[in-house]
């Protein structure tokens, strides 16, 4: 068994954080050694019975005391600044980050990729690309922690937290839940697989194939839900229905009934579906029921993805709901759960042939393209 002394360092955030850590470590060692050796030397030198000069002991010395107040202060402020800068960057994910959705629930991590690939307790990501995780919890507080990346963020119920990082090293790393969440807290663990872009693209295209022959992208799944729940009855394309149109809603400024306005982001959309009465759009009445009991956290993420896609993505991206889906209407919940409960097998991803992917013409280097690949799949895809 290998007992490491230092953790893996596998992300850009780790590269930013580790220097601060080692500077602090250096200061800690320095001051501890300083204090301990002073104590040791002084206590021995001025031990009772030692014949040393004890004349004129000082009881205070303003200059000295000022010095040892100000030096720690300056050092502390320096470290504060060094540590604050990387932290602030956590709040500003790059625009080109690959967005992956994480739902924490007792006691597993459920992960959805934009193309509809899902996995439990594993996370597959490509090396060298910024990854943005949008996280929420279905029950209690969880903490998403990858020690090798030095990143951690709580997945909280009721709100989306995001974090981002760029993995820099290919390999398998620990994924832990750090926010105590009950009986099997210590089993809410998993692995993060950082893959080469090629392997990742191959995995992404084939992940979850055991459950569904072809998985559907998040926005397609969202569209299915949209149709099933008949959202379009009120939220029609032209904004003439009982509810405001959802076309180009995402990211826009919404004027509300009470005269204020807000930006329609993930949290806003989620809340408007779960708690429609909280934010009424100006010019509309409150007629929408709450969908709190009808949609899981995974499904709401799919609906959000669909609403995002209404913002005028390429024309080919939008399409009518799959006719094959009509048979499943009425089993709304099964849409999400059927595939959630199925274990995904990272081994399958490993065995997937990258070469096959190349044949299908996917440019494995571009994340946007990897997302379009599954879209092709969905048009022909059928659920089992």
């Amino acid at each position: 068994m290998n007992y490491p002394f230092l953790p893996d360092r596998a992300s850009d955030f780790a590269d930013k954080m580790d220097p601060v850590f080692y500077i602090l470590l250096g200061l800690t060692v320095l001051f501890t050694v300083l204090v301990l050796s002073f104590i040791f030397v002084l206590a021995l030198r001025y031990r009772r019975g030692q014949n040393v000069n004890r004349k004129n002991p000082r009881h205070h010395n303003a200059l000295l005391e000022m010095t040892w107040s100000v030096i720690p202060l300056i050092l502390g402020l320096g470290v504060f600044v060094m540590a604050a800068i990387p932290y602030a960057s956590v709040y500003h994910p790059p625009k080109n980050a690959i967005e992956i959705f994480v739902v924490g629930k007792r006691w597993m991590w459920h992960i959805q990729h934009a193309n509809g690939a899902r996995e439990n307790n594993t996370l597959h990501i490509p090396v060298g690309k910024p990854i943005q995780l949008t996280m929420i919890s279905q029950d209690v507080n969880h903490g998403f922690y990858v020690p090798a990346f030095r990143v951690k963020r709580d997945a909280l119920p009721g709100r989306y937290n995001t974090m981002w990082f760029t993995p820099t090293k290919i390999g398998k790393f620990h994924l832990f839940c750090t926010e105590y969440c009950g009986t099997n807290h210590s089993e809410m663990i998993g692995s993060v697989y950082v893959q080469s872009p090629m392997d990742y693209a191959a995995w992404l295209a084939n992940a979850g194939q055991e459950v569904e022959a072809r998985h559907q992208s998040l926005e397609t799944l969202g569209e299915v839900l949209y149709t099933q729940l008949a959202c379009g009855t009120c939220h029609d394309k032209d904004g003439l229905g009982r509810g405001p149109t959802l076309t180009s809603l995402y990211g826009s400024k919404v004027m509300k009934k009470d005269g204020t306005s807000t930006i329609a982001d993930d949290t806003y959309i989620r809340n408007s579906i779960f708690n429609p009465s909280d934010d009424i759009a100006a010019g509309y009445q409150q007629v929408m029921p709450s969908y709190k009991d009808q949609l899981t956290e995974e499904q709401i993420l799919q609906v959000i993805a669909y609403i995002k896609s209404l913002n005028g993505s390429p024309p080919g991206a939008r399409h009518l709901p799959n006719p094959g889906m009509s048979g499943t209407t009425g089993q709304k919940k099964s849409t999400g759960h059927g595939s959630i409960s199925a274990p995904t097998q990272p081994a399958a991803a490993k065995t997937a042939e990258p070469s096959q992917q190349k044949k299908s013409g996917v440019d494995t280097m571009a994340p946007t393209d990897t997302l379009t690949a599954p879209k092709e799949a969905t048009t022909a895809g059928k659920r089992i």
């Binding site: 009470d258 708690n275 009465s277 909280d278 009424i280 409150q286 709450s290």
Partner: protein, 232 residues
Amino acid sequence: MSVEAAHSLHNEPHEHEEHLAHQFMNREQQDESYIVGMWSFLVTEILFFGALFLCYSIFRIQYPMAFQEGHEELSWVYGCANTVILLTSSLTMVLSVHAAQTGKRILSAMWLAATSVLAAGFLVVKLAFEWYPKFQHHLIPGVNFHWPHEQFTEVAAGKAELFFGLYFAMTGLHGIHVVIGIGIMAVLGTMLLLNHKSTQYYMPIELAGLYWHFVDIVWIFLFPLFYLIGKR
């Protein structure tokens, strides 16, 4: 300076020996100890209620509609009546303290009795005219909560439950303080009438007064925050 202090100590005539606890050197020390002790207790009470007021503020800013609609289930008339009752009880309380300070024992007991009658009146209004109808209207969180307005208005039941949760938590905690106050006044009043030696010293009544005024202050804030949220 220190020598002077010591000097004064030794000339202390111990004039009020009979009301002086053994650990104190003189009455002045004892009186101020009690006052400061009571105030530091009230500081804990301020923060105790303060944390609840903080919760209130955060959720009122987040869910103004829930607070607006929830408050329409409360009657400002009862709230106002209760404010008058409590303000009056504060007056009778200071009159009781005043009587105790000037050595009018029976008068002090009478004012104390008046205060506790008013306090009981407050509880009657609170329980009979406010809480009991809430129970009938299914507005008690978790017990039988039903928010009939959900279909027609813009506030979900959960938010309304939150509002009434805060309402019952804050007025309930205040109510518990009123009950404790009544208990203290009943005991003190009885001891005064019996001319018990600890009430020959006015300080216990003054301390009870401080407590009671604090209860009054809490209500001064609760009243506008719950009953006067705004007419539409």
